[in-house]
Amino acid sequence: MNTIIKIYQKITCLVYVFFFAALWLPWMEIGNKSYHLPGYLRMVQKAGGIVAMTDGSPDFVASYYLFFIPVLAGILAVIYAVSLLAGRPFKVLYTMVRWCEFIYVAAAVILFPMVPLLWTYILPLLCLAEYVAGQYVAQHDEIAKAARERMERDRREKEERKRRLYFPGRYGIDFFRMVLKNAKYHIRNYIMLILSGTFLMLFLYLTFALKYAFQGVHTEEAVVGGRLQGILLEAVWIGLVLNAVLMALSFSYYIRNKIKEENALVLLGIRSRALTSIMVMEYTGCLACSAVMGILMGNIAFRILISALGKRLPVRACSLPVSSYLILIGIFAVAALIAAMVNGHVYEHMRWEQAGLLVTGTGEIPGISVWIGLAVGCYAIFSAVSQFGRREGGEGEELLLYFLFGMVLVIRFLKGVQVQRLKKTEHRYYRELFRKLIFIKSFGQNMKKIYLLTGIAFLVMYPLTAVYAVNAAVTDMEQQYPYDFVCRVSEEGTDAFEEIRDRYKLDAEEYPMTTVYTLMPNDISVTSSLKSLFFMEYASVANGRQVLVEPPAQAGIPASVYLKLKENAGKKAKARGPEGEDIFVVYQESLLTRAHVLDWSGTEESIFLQTACEGMDVNSYSAYTERRVAGQERDILTGVCDGGKQQNLVVFSDEYFQTIYQGEKLYLFQTGTAEKGFYEKVRAELQKAEEDTGMLHFYDRKASVQDTEAERYLRQVVWLFMLILTGLSGIYLLFIKFCFEMDEITERYRFLSCMGMREREVRKTLQREMLPFFLLPFFAAGASAVMFTGLMFRVRLYSPSEMGQYLRYALPVWCGYWLIQAIVCLIIRGVLHSKIRFEQGGVR
């Protein structure tokens, strides 16, 4: 043992010496020079401090101060190492080093992409390793002793179990017949399990098959750029989460039903191993059936989808390669395992309960926590809605999740307070007891289903309907590009463009313009940051900001050009143009995206921008000046902009424009009905000129239309599919709840009928019991969806006709969803009622 401790002490010293030495390595590159940490700190001091050096960028300032922590930790570590070698270790230093590590790691995770000292992550990792080793060395004897004792105890228990559970021979054929007969009797449970698994597999298959079929449709950049993959990935995540939840729910119900017959078998003396084997076989058997059925149904659905897509896109049905099958079976197996693991505790809990070791709680109505929940929920809803409604903010998924979280808390409050109030007045309590029994007695369990149903309804009514309806309602793509080519040419590039124009006799409209730079898009999106982190795109998640090499550039035009473009498009100008240094913004966004404020760190009324001046520094915060936005509109005058980078128009007053104009020009032209291949020739020439001179930038209708239309159509089809699947999930959830609980509900109401509850009362009570599962999601999700749709109209600057167009697609989805839900509820109620009704008195 002494030898181990000595070796360990030496290793510790080496580790800390390495830490300190490593700080002197040239790890950071600024410009063409490399700096080690102290050198970097000195350089910053020479530059007048980090604030002056980085123009006050908060990310750099924060990360700069962060560097002092490992320096401090290194120094402390070396002192500690020396004291350790001297045989009198200062333990307090060791603790301080740990704290430094903790603060450093926590802060570095927050500012991760802004920390150039990436390798210093080795520091906490080594510390962790050293800590584990230290703990092991210190507790080696105890651990070894405990392990020996545990092994001995296990061995004895195993032998005892073997002795007590000795079973002479195997179960005979009759046993298996009995198991089979039992399985036939409980076929409903298996069907539910198989159905939920089939849903999952069908969805997975379709995702893979669509991905495979669409690989050849897009341009190489689009595929690599991942827009198509992104559409499919979003669908995968929603589908996977939803189906895993449903599967877990089915499995938990399956276990609850299974445990009842298990008790009977246990009483008859069946071995627990046999029981486990039966359950495992049933579960895997159901999953295998689901996998096969899912693949078969997925194949059929895929072919139907492809035949629908094939009308507009060059896609054709193809069979999946073996590797894809393996991957999707792997994902399916993982989801099944997760569902099994999640429900493992349900099984254990039930067994404990059955064994009498656990008393089922009778009153689980939340108390004061509902009020705290209300405060938190209202705050979450308010902040999510206010952020969502700002055009500077975002329509991010995290805001929707945040809102849903708040909504869940508010629903919990409403129902919780209702039940609490019920309990306060005895008379009301007994009057409502049977109607609200399930909420009075198992509040949490039933509320979980309401939350899920509300979440699913909201998903269907807002995010999924929004994607589907907007894609379906969006104006014809051709109309969104009024010109074949839109070229932005600087003064130096004018000759190159004119040469092309003369050569091809292009009838180009020529307008003066100036490039307008706005601040970097402040994409404060936790989910996109996490996604970027996952794909190791460190540069794009700096402090939640999307750091672009080149900041977004818009086309600045004088008011007269704006009026001319309006006239060309045959539209009436909304305003005559701004005055003085004010601006007017024309958002050339498609309906698919929000008409986002150009400067995302600014507000709707005032933004920071800079025009293309010589010697400007696009990364310098101070180079951007604040401008008042006198007016704004969403319209398409030169061509639609989907990414918010280039094509929005910033309109200046004519007088002010003259002061900033630097000879840049905007050329807009059609290629007309020239000979075949003319369009491509012009495009190739412009592309060449763009690459050669760098003074000419353009985008063309065909490439944009091809890519965006393919994406739009894919999005429409895939999300319609998601919409249907999610809607079905909601119905399925209702179905599994009442289907699995059918026996318990029937028994309860039959008993109450025996005790003298009138039939009308039975029907009414059953209805009142079921109603919250329809009405709460209906009102909560409905109101939220309507509110979010309104906010979406606002942030995307939709015109009344566009709103009407959107609602033309959205309303049938909403009505259809609730109509089907209502029909399913009525059917379930009818089935339950017919089961409850029994032949009372009289002559039959």
């Binding site: 008393v359 089922t360 009778t362 005895e426 008379h427 309590y429 007994y430 009057r431 007891l433 049977f434 029994l437 399930i438 007695k441 198992s442 309860r748 008993f751 109450l752 009928s753 025996c754 005790m755 003298g756 509850m757 009138r758 039939e759 009308r760 009362e761 029994f838 032949e839 009372q840 008195g841 009289g842 002559v843 039959r844």
Partner: protein, 252 residues
């Protein structure tokens, strides 16, 4: 004494797979059964398994319909009563005690006891008062806050009796109430039934296999294969002879 229950030619058939047309699908349970129960009587129904005892009790308790014959409850023809009227009778005039107790796990003991009055929409204070008086009488007053799953079999059955008496019914119908109880609990339960019959002047109709239980009654119907084969009546102060008669009848 007034006749409270009377049947004439009571027939009850069940049908396999709900197929009432096919004669082979028919299972005849009661085959023309006549009986009469007078006010204040303590009646036991005995007989072999599958003889139709429980079916008869369910019919008498208005939980099953009859196929043919006549059934009069307190002079009213049950076949002419509406479903709601039947429910009202079950709630107000009859108290049920089942072999498996049928206590709702989701309710506490006190709520279980109060079920009939809750269904009757009685005022809360009245319910509580009645519940307390019954629980004290049957020695379960300390259990009222508990959940049914925390009680023993005997305790559960006493709770079920409290429930049966909640609405002050005219008749208590019990189906094998001692079926799940040990000898001591059974004896205690029978004393309870005795006191209900003697002190509270309630009719008791009890289905049992056990002659020791049956001897507590003052009238016994022996049912076999859907008909009453014998009716025994207890004479005043002749308990031992009555028991012998029961045993003799059972052997036969």
């Amino acid at each position: 004494m007034k006749e409270i229950i009377a049947t004439q030619g009571l027939v009850k058939n069940y049908y396999r797979n709900h197929n009432s047309n096919h004669p082979e699908a028919r299972i005849e349970v009661l085959k023309g059964l006549d009986l009469s129960i007078l006010e204040g009587e303590y009646v036991c129904i005995m007989g072999s398994s599958g003889g139709g005892k429980t079916t008869l009790l369910k019919i008498l308790g208005m939980m099953e319909s009859i196929t043919d014959g006549e059934y009069y409850f307190q002079g009213k023809d049950a076949s002419k009563l509406w479903k709601d009227e039947l429910a009202d009778i079950r709630r107000k005039k009859i108290g049920f005690v089942f072999q498996d107790y049928y206590l709702m796990d989701s309710l506490s003991v006190e709520e279980n006891i109060m079920v009939p009055m809750i269904l009757d929409k009685a005022p809360a204070d009245k319910m509580r008062e009645k519940m307390h008086s019954l629980t004290e009488r049957f020695g379960v007053e300390k259990l009222i806050r508990k959940a049914p799953c925390e009680l023993s079999g005997g305790e559960k059955q006493r709770v079920a009796i409290c429930r049966a008496l909640m609405n002050d019914p005219d008749i208590i119908m019990a189906d094998e109430p001692t079926g799940n109880l040990d000898a001591k609990s059974s004896r205690r339960l029978m004393e309870t039934f005795d006191s209900i019959n003697q002190e509270m002047k309630k009719n008791i109709i009890l289905v049992t296999h056990d002659p020791k239980i049956a001897r507590c009654g003052n009238k016994i119907f022996f049912i076999d294969d859907g008909v009453i084969v014998k009716t025994l009546k207890k004479k005043e102060g002749d308990s031992a002879a009555f028991y012998k008669e029961i045993l003799h009848e059972m052997e036969e």
